[in-house]
Structure formats: C-alpha cells, structure tokens
C-alpha cells in the first residue's frame, strides 16, 4: 500500500476507534483470552493478553492496527507461546461468507486487480492491460449476497438451537465487516470439544458424508417404511422435505428413489449437502480451537466496515449500519468498473477519475484497492 494511503487509513481507523470506544469492549473472561492485531502493510502480532477495556483502547491508540482479533479459546497463560498456553476450552465459532455461497450474482459485483500492473477491470481470466494471469479478485457490496448469507445464518441457528440444543441466549450473531456473518456460541457443552470432534460437527452442519442407510435405503433390501418422513426431527425431516416437498408426494418419491437405485440416492444426498440443505459455513474457522477471531466493534481492513453485533439479523443492513466512518469529503482517484452503494448512496463506476467522496467511501475504496488518495 502506498505511503499516503496507509497514513490516511491509519488516521481514519484511529479516529473511528477514538469516537467509538463504547463499541469496542473486551469480551467476558478477558484475562483468559489471547489477542492479536495486524497493521497495514505488516504481519500479525499475537499472544497478547489484555485485562480491561482500557487496555484494549490503549492498544488501539498506540499501535494503530488495521485489524484486531481475540481468541475463541480460553487459556491459563494466553500470552505465552502456543504450546505453553495451557488450553482450557474454546467457544464454538462460525463464519458464513458470501464467497462460499457462490451465488450467480457474484460475477456481476466482482472485479479483478492485476498483481503485476495494478489494473482494475471487470471479471476476466487475464489482465486486459498486461495479459498477466496473476489476479486478485475483489468483491463489492451486494444485497443479494447479504440476503443469501442471512438465510444461511438462520438455517444454522435453527440447527444449533434444535438439533444441538444450544440456548439461543448463548448465540451471538455479528456482521463480519466485509461480506459475511460470524456466530459466536459461548457457555455450551461443546466448548470442551477438540478440533477432531468439531470436524465431525461441521460435517453434520454442512450435511456432508451422509450415507443412504441412515436415510432409509438399505443396500440390498430397501424397505419403504424406513425412508424419512417430513415430521422427523433433525436431518431426517429436512431431507424428507427436500426430497418430497410435501407429505402427499412422499410415496411416489420413495418409489422413484428405490427404482433409481442406491448409487443414485447416495449421489443425491451428497448434492443436497453441497447445493441445498447443507449450511455453508467455512469449515476452517469452526475446526480451529486456537483461532484469533475478529473482535466485535473493530474495523475490517478489507472494507473499512465494522464487525458489528446484530440484534435482528433479518432487518440488519450492513452497508448502512456497519459503515461508521465519518462523511467529510476526501479527494481520491478511483478506478471501479462496478457501481456500488454505501449508506444509501450510489458510487461509481469510475475509470481513473479524480473525485470527491465522503470519507467512509474513500476508506472503503482504499481498503478494496480500487482507489488512491489524490
């Protein structure tokens, strides 16, 4: 990142933190957690221990971080190297990101930035300017993607509260600050699970590696009565709904499944996990019991938007509510082939144009790498 862009973002982030100390708090059991942060243009510092909100605010003011993280794990000695921390337990965490949903709209709001010459252009395989194939993909705001992610979040919450019997008071949902949502489950009976066990829980939630026998189809003598019913609890019921749609179509559906045969049914179950009923969580996040996870209230350097808790996810609009940087005008030179909206205001498209935009939009475009300070 260019020196003046970096300075601007550091100042802007610092101003945000100074103005929003009320949003940035250490979580419960802070002394048992590990903290970490990143600075613009440099690597991660972690194994940090903080006691109070004041310690956290001091860290923000003195280090000017681009991103701040806090562990899902609880340790006896959070500031020691990993092997000496003495892991006690870890909250169950989930990340659902629009990129993992792969919705058809994605290509319409993704552009590429060439890592060789820096050119920004619409989605294509090679850089139109220098023909390099080393490209970064940048995704800009999309309400359709956000709606898709919200739907996944609600499906996940349903499974957590019914199948897994997690009290919804212990589930905290927040916007990730870019294009996804995080779920944080505290005080559950799953806190003690190691990463192997979490791996199995992930396959459950994503409905992966289901076998036909469990869902009614015995390889050699399938019996009609053992196929799932729409009222069944857990995956049986959800599978039945997806397979048959309604009770009246169940009988016909079973006949078809049996006549299609075991391998077809197995394939069908696998596809259901991938494309319909499986919840699209990022498995690498949930499996990790030593992760440092973005801290609520902090800014995300991929966008300049805040990671923010949402009380009512259905009504939550991240591109207005999590856009908390000020709106004084800033001169930038922007190169965005795609139009986008922030705080109910449209921006772009811009082709290497010098423009004046509110600070939040300038920060957003600088973070995305599609603008420079003028």
């Amino acid at each position: 990142m260019l020196e003046n862009n970096l300075k601007f973002l550091e100042e802007t982030f610092k101003q945000y933190y100074f103005d929003h100390f009320d949003l940035i708090r250490v979580p419960d059991r802070s002394t048992e957690r590990e903290y970490g942060y990143k600075k613009f243009n440099s690597g991660m510092s972690r194994h940090i221990s903080l006691k109070t909100d004041k310690d956290l605010h001091l860290l923000l003011m003195t280090n000017l971080p681009s991103d701040v993280f806090c562990s899902n794990g609880y340790y006896s000695f959070p500031n020691l190297p990993m092997t000496e921390k003495d892991w006690k337990e870890a909250d169950l965490i989930f990340d659902i990101d629009a990129k993992d949903l792969n919705l058809p709209c994605r290509k319409d709001h993704t552009c590429i930035k060439c890592t060789s010459c820096g050119e920004v252009s619409l989605l294509q395989d090679v850089c139109p300017k220098c023909k390099s194939n080393k490209l970064d993909r940048l995704s800009l705001p999309c309400q359709n993607c956000i709606s898709g992610v919200k739907k996944e979040v609600l499906n996940l919450v349903k499974i957590l509260t019914t199948d897994l019997r997690i009290d919804d008071k212990n589930i905290r949902i927040s916007f990730s600050g870019n294009e996804g949502f995080h779920l944080h489950v505290t005080n559950s009976s799953y806190n003690q699970l190691g990463s192997k066990e979490r791996g199995d829980l992930i396959d459950y939630i994503m409905f992966r590696r289901a076998i036909p026998e469990r869902f009614g189809f015995k390889k050699n003598n399938p019996s009609r009565s053992s196929f799932p019913d729409l009222d069944d609890p857990g995956w049986s019921g959800r599978v039945a709904k997806d397979l048959f749609g309604s009770k009246s179509k169940r009988s016909k559906g079973i006949t078809k499944i049996i006549s299609d045969g075991y391998p077809v049914y197995r394939q069908r179950l696998e596809e259901m996990g991938k494309n319909s009923i499986g919840v699209k969580i990022d498995p690498n996040v949930t499996v990790d019991i030593h992760r440092i996870f973005r801290l609520e209230g902090s800014l995300n350097s991929k966008s300049g938007l805040a990671k923010l808790a949402c009380e009512n996810i259905e009504k939550f609009n991240p591109y207005t509510e999590a856009c908390l940087i000020g709106d004084e005008p800033v001169e930038i030179s922007a190169n965005s082939p795609i139009e986008f909206r922030l705080k109910n205001r449209g921006f772009g498209p811009y082709t290497n144009e010098k423009i004046s935009v509110p600070k939040y939009a300038a920060a957003y475009m600088l973070c995305k790498g599609i603008a420079n300070l003028a």
């Binding site: 190297p81 092997t83 000496e84 019914t162 199995d200 469990r214």
Partner: protein
C-alpha cells in the same frame, strides 16, 4: 470406585483391585507359581493371552462348566494371572492385544446387560460403568440409549466408518440415539485403553520359577506379530491432484498446500525440493513460500512444531480427496503404498 459382586467381577475383572482380590480369597501370588493344584489357573491365564493374541474373545472352558462357584473365580484368577505373566514378559504388543480382546469381551457383557429387561441390576451396573469409568451419562429411552452429542463425539471420532459420523445418527434435542450394541461398541477403544493403562500401571512381581516356562512361551508368541513393511515411492491420488492443480496454475487452497507440503516433508523431501512446486500458483512469492514450508517443517517458528500430514478424514472434509481403489482403506496419505512383507 464401583462396588462389585461376584457376577460383575467375573464379567469385568479389570475393575477389581488385583492384590485386594487375591487377599480376600486367601491366596498369595507365590502359591500360583508353586501349588500344583493351581497350575490349571496359570494354564488358563496363558490360554487367555494366547486367544487374545490371535484376536479371539476368551471363553473359559472347564469340565464342570455349570458350577458357578468354580467358573466365576476361575474367570477372575485367570485374568489376574494373565496380567502377571504379561508384566513379567514386558511385551507391549501382547499387552495391547490382550487389552483389546478383554475390552471386546467386556463389551459383549455390557451389551447384554444393557438389553436385559429382566435384570434391572445388570442394566444399572452397565450404566454405572459408563458413568464412573468413562464419564458418559447414558439414559434409557425406549429401546434406545441416549447420550449427549458432545460426549458422543469425543468417542465416535475414533471410528473411521461413516455410519459413526454424527450426520448418520439419529440426533434430537442435543442427544444421540444408540442401540445397546452401539452404546457398548462406542467405548471399546477407551475400554481397551483403560485396561491397558491399568496393566501398565501395575507393579511387576519378581519372577517365580513356576511362571518362567509360560513367560518364555509368550516371547515366542509375540514374535509372530512383528511386521516388516516397505514404503513405495508412489504418491496417492490426493497429492497427485494437488501437484497437477499447481502445475496448471490453478489456485490450491491453503489446506491443499498444507497437505502437499506435509506429505512431501514426511517422505523426506527438503524445503529446497518442495518450494519450486508452488511457483505456478497465482499468488506465488518465493520468500513467503519458503518461509511457510519451513514453518510446517518445524525449522522456524516459536515452538518448532513439525506438522504431520493430515488424515484422509480431514482431507475429505476439505474436498481434497480423490480416492482410488489403490488407497485401500488407508487413513492417512502417508500410508499409501506401504505394504506388509
């Protein structure tokens, strides 16, 4: 600790305090080594180890098998003397095989006790073993037993068969439903581990002349189980696929790169040999690549952890598995092509 009746101690002899039991019955270890009348017990103990070594579940045979007063103590004594013989032999392979076979024997009783509607005490005792020895709370629900998901997962992850995966279980309200058979099967490995730990923790008695012959026979028995293996230079399909993807300049996920690096490091390749493989990656940066491989190899980094190649299970979860029949049910790519001689 659980209090044991004669019946229970015969079914689950590993729950007994060995020395205490001998004392209570008025015997000393020396007597077993010297008294010709007790030689039959030493013989039975040896048979018990032998059948365990062959992977069979021990079933005590006597001439007068209907007499409970003989059969029950014989069952317990043969177990205790078997442990003495194993300790004297110091042979780990046999201790492992014996622990597993005893676990499977106990598992059969556990299963029977869980289904025995007629005998409430046996059922309660079996549930108590789950709770006191393995800290699992199981409850009866109709024909099934239910256990909390988190308890289930901690045991079920030891199995590789898909049917044990949570997604293939009846799950309701935070509980997993299991048949009595499955409930007992769930703790087999821990049962084996528990028995093994108890054997390893027991004191080794001094060698007596009467045991020498049997201990010698055990050494010969153990020789059968030494396995020579040879590792081929072939690479498994997941690794082949990863290398291909990189060669084509496709983006390989972080977990794919980790798998590839750990696998090749495990096969003895060096950082210098591995780093060039990544040069076609869209985000290739030689310095970063070398740094990351060194981290994985444990050559740098705070705690110098050397990472092992992830299991097939994990690789499947990351959509990186492209198994072929050649994989032959291995559970880690490192085992690919490893053949027993």
């Amino acid at each position: 600790m659980i209090s044991l009746g004669q019946d229970e101690i015969a079914k689950y002899p590993f729950l007994a305090e060995a020395g205490q039991y001998l004392n209570d019955k008025g015997f000393t270890l020396e007597q077993f080594a010297t008294d010709p009348d007790l030689k039959i017990i030493v013989d039975k103990a040896y048979e018990r180890i032998e059948s365990a070594a062959e992977g069979k579940i021990y079933n005590l045979k006597t001439d007068n098998s209907s007499d409970k007063d003989i059969i029950l103590p014989l069952n317990v004594f043969s177990f205790l003397i078997a442990i003495v013989l194993l300790k004297l032999s110091g042979l780990n392979t046999l201790i492992n095989r014996f622990s597993l076979a005893e676990a499977r024997r106990a598992e059969k009783f556990l299963e029977r006790d869980l289904v025995s509607d007629s005998n409430k005490t046996s059922e309660e005792f079996a549930i108590k073993i789950f709770r006191d020895v393995f800290s699992i709370t199981i409850k009866k629900a109709g024909d099934y037993f239910v256990i909390p998901i988190s308890d289930y997962l901690q045991h079920a992850v030891n199995f590789h068969e898909l049917e044990w995966k949570l997604v293939n279980r009846h799950v309701e309200n935070g509980m997993v439903f299991l048949t009595p058979h499955e409930s007992a099967r769930l703790i087999r490995k821990e049962l084996g581990g528990y028995i093994g730990t108890k054997i390893r923790a027991a004191n080794t008695p001094p060698m007596s002349k009467g045991f020498e012959d049997k201990v010698h026979k055990l050494s010969n028995l153990a020789k059968k189980f030494v396995v020579d293996t040879v590792v081929s230079t072939e690479i498994p399909p997941c690794i082949e696929h990863a290398i291909e993807a990189l060669n084509k300049g496709e983006n390989l996920s972080h977990s794919g790169r980790f798998m590839l690096a750990t696998f090749l490091l495990g096969r003895g390749q060096t950082v210098d040999e591995i780093a060039p493989l990544f040069k076609n990656a869209p985000d290739y940066n030689e310095k970063i690549t070398r740094y990351q491989i060194k981290q994985v190899a444990g050559e740098t980094g705070g705690n110098r952890t050397k990472y092992a190649c992830p299991s097939c299970e994990k690789i499947k979860s990351n959509d990186l598995c492209f198994a072929t029949p050649d994989c032959d049910n291995i559970i880690n790519p490192m085992q690919f092509g490893k053949k027993r001689l």
